[in-house]
Subunit: 364 residues, 3 copies
């Protein structure tokens, strides 16, 4: 297998985002108690809230009058009132009250964005609202399946979202970055190779087995009597930055590779990367397990192990972001293991290009 | 009454300042004990001090030799010595000593600015010194009138000064921003309308009455037995950013609106906004009362109430500044209550334009 | 003597550096225990380390694969392993291992820089490696001479290195900046003039005597019975920013100026200024004494006095940097004492220009 010599697509700060797709904007629990959440998404300051009807609302976080923050306002019914001069906006963004003024110009208002709450996640559509089809939201059934338990997480990243996608495209980094948390041993990088790399129309699928090795620390912490294990990771990544992973640990030699899973302990992991700006990212995630469902401390231990592991990634990737910003002329070099990454970046770039060509055609 | 649909003049970071006018540079107490005060005014770093003669001096805060800060120097007589290599400058900015060198080039020196100390304020003229006429300084007699007592204040703002001027141009914000401090109730925005809006050649005058309402918290704190009151605010704003307000509280129904003021308690408020840069502002203010002149705690309570209230504005306005900077293409929308604001911005823009046309004519 | 009226060469943030010369990159003690030191030099992020062979290595601090920091990696033998995906690089920067991949493209690697360890200093050559001749490293024999003792120091400066060079080019600043630390009295500026200013091909030499004055505080602290002294400073500055100074204090009237040095106490000072970026500087220094060699507290006292004094400079120079950045149009004015400074800046500018002309000629 030869190293891929051509330079490949790099994220750059000025690169456009894919607009016509669903991004995770929040966990549902962030919007309880009529809380106004200020969150910048794809460079747009957005305010998210749920009023009396319980339906989530997303508006520009900028009063159309003087630019004050609506997120510092007050929820009234399904409306939000700007607490500078008191203008009130309904869930569609239309201005419905101006204190001391009877006549409200019909066009006065702020932009609103389609939002859908599903399986504890609040999704937002930043592109053409007419194309916002909830059927296009990717399904991750484990969040609603009582056979699985997890603890939702959030991390903020000072890095472009694609650098985090890259990170997940090559699991050999487990060996070096996460030796003491999520990985286990450097052997993982040298001995376990992906058994299958599948290029998908909107992402990739990678399967990787590591046979007869000690379990990684995060698993050992909650399953104390785990001996040597066969470990399988099936990872799928979808545009614009959605990662699902199925992990299982089965006693070494128990035949998991032949479908014998009765002694396996399994995990389901979802990770959602939503660009805040071109150099910062919202990272939503959950790591669910299918055993010990009555013990909340298992979920909590796994949550904490993931935070520890993700912070190991974060340190590397945020430094990488600074390095890339400092010298935009730097060209990365692909190694063999980068095949999924290269495919993903090309796929996404092609979709963004097509979307922009469409916008230009409409404009012309 | 229709909403004004045209977009109106917005402050932008690159917008020029009005140069040929007096700005407040400091309170007199800042210059006691020969203290050197470093203060950037209209983007120019200035050092202010009073030497042995007691006359205030303003010079460029940059030694003409190597650019060291004169404000880190030493006052000697009416001169200041740079404490890097020891060059000494007199009150006009001329270099009068170079240690170890006998011959001083006559043109060696730093720029000086006209300054006038009046009624506890130190005013500076950043434009053409030949036009600096002290008679043009606006008179606010209450600062020297022993019938009034106050406590001088200063706040630094991370916002363009015109956003603060805007804030004072529409008192409906009292209802939403200052409900628990300076305002009192949201009713103020809905029920009390300005009774008079007067467009002045160099600003505006707004009068607003609120009849038969509970007094606002700041007044209630110092006048505990205040019942329902009739409240009158007369506000005047002058270019470049000078605000005077006369406030009275009279027992509800006592006929204040007909001139019966014998039971009224009155306040006089001055606020001076001096651009530090296009995105930061020096804010000098005093809030004076005409009763309980022997009780220093009344002044102190009012001072603290104002600080609390001004910090409520500051939080909103500094967020507004960030929002406007983040998207310079954003167009504000005027409501009816913005009439004074729109007039003020137009007036100031016209004066700045005229001043710049004059400068160009001279240059050509 | 007339003041030099012409404006002279100023450091600007965009100014190029002299590349083909040796810069100090580190003290040797920074690299013990296989420590990886991340240090930006002339805008290039570099990682420095010593592996098993004990020879210092300098590589680009950026993995050629994905841009991760090699300084967060791991030393293995004389190699460094990137701890993101495990690529290993030898001391020349060549990639020698890719985990999970057998074939390593021969050109895969990172840049390396010539480094030389000499007399406790680690020197680096950022220009054309073929020209890196260790014989060009300036000799400061006192660092290896057991007749002298010191304590190596480091300070980081938020200022262009030339502003620090300027500082050392005119010792009249001792009188104003360092009155209570390194200077002693303001008389130094007024009465002591340089007795000799020698323009060198690659710098300057200044000699300055101050006869019959109290010793400066730093000397008085370690030589408590020092009475009035004759003080001589011989300072030499070399491109790109290397400063050597010989200082002696002899009892006043003991004839030091005629070569009678038997009662003198002497110091040797080296200072090395290495640009980190155009607006920040690494400052390495040592201040050595030739007496009380058995008493470590003398070295320590002198070290601390120098830190105090250098921090006085730092406060002025970092403010100066901000002032110059704020207004690039500002023109400094030279005084008579600036002759060495002006010569040095011109010399360096000429050398940089020649180097760049050479680069262009090669390119064309």
């Amino acid at each position: 297998m030869a190293v891929q010599k051509e330079s490949f697509h790099q994220a750059s700060p000025s690169e456009p985002f894919l607009l016509n797709c669903w991004y995770v904007a929040a966990w549902d629990h962030e919007l309880i108690d009529a809380k106004l959440v200020a969150r910048t998404i794809l460079d747009k300051p957005v305010v998210l809230f749920k009023g009396d009807s319980g339906k989530p609302v997303a508006l520009d976080d900028r009063c159309c009058h003087r630019g004050a923050l609506l997120s510092k306002g007050r929820v009234e019914g399904d409306c939000v009132r700007c607490m500078y001069h008191g203008l009130k906006f309904d869930a569609t963004g239309r201005c419905v009250q101006i204190p001391g003024q009877d006549n409200i110009p019909p066009k006065l208002g702020v932009s609103s964005y389609p939002v859908v709450e599903r399986d504890r996640l609040v999704w937002i559509w930043m592109g053409d609202a007419a194309k916002a089809d909830p059927a296009k939201i990717l399904d991750f059934p484990y969040l609603r399946d009582t056979g699985w338990r997890g603890h939702p997480g959030y991390l903020h990243y000072d890095a472009n979202y694609l650098l985090i996608v890259d990170n997940l495209a090559d699991f050999s980094h487990l060996a070096f970055v996460h030796t003491k948390t999520l990985g286990g041993s450097e052997e993982y990088a040298f001995k376990s190779k992906p058994t299958a790399i599948e290029r998908l129309e909107d992402g990739f699928r990678v399967e990787r087995w590591h046979m007869g090795a000690p379990p990684p620390p995060f698993h050992k912490k909650v399953v104390r009597d785990a001996g040597q294990v066969d470990r399988r990771n099936i990872a799928r990544m979808y545009v614009p930055g959605i990662f699902f992973m199925e992990t299982l640990f089965s006693p070494a030699g128990s035949g998991a590779e032949n479908g014998n899973l009765q002694s396996a302990k399994q995990y389901r992991n979802c990770q959602f990367f939503t660009p805040e700006t071109s150099r910062t990212t919202h990272f939503f995630w959950d790591y669910l397990h299918d055993y010990a469902l009555d013990d909340p401390n298992v979920s909590l231990s796994l949550y904490r192990s993931m935070v520890d592991g993700f912070n190991e990634d974060k340190a590397i990737i945020e430094a990488q972001q600074k390095t890339l910003e400092a010298d935009p002329a730097f060209q990365m070099n692909a190694i063999v293991a980068d095949a999924p990454l290269v495919h993903f970046r090309r796929t996404l770039a092609r979709m963004i290009e097509a979307e922009r060509a469409g916008l230009k055609a409409v404009a012309a």
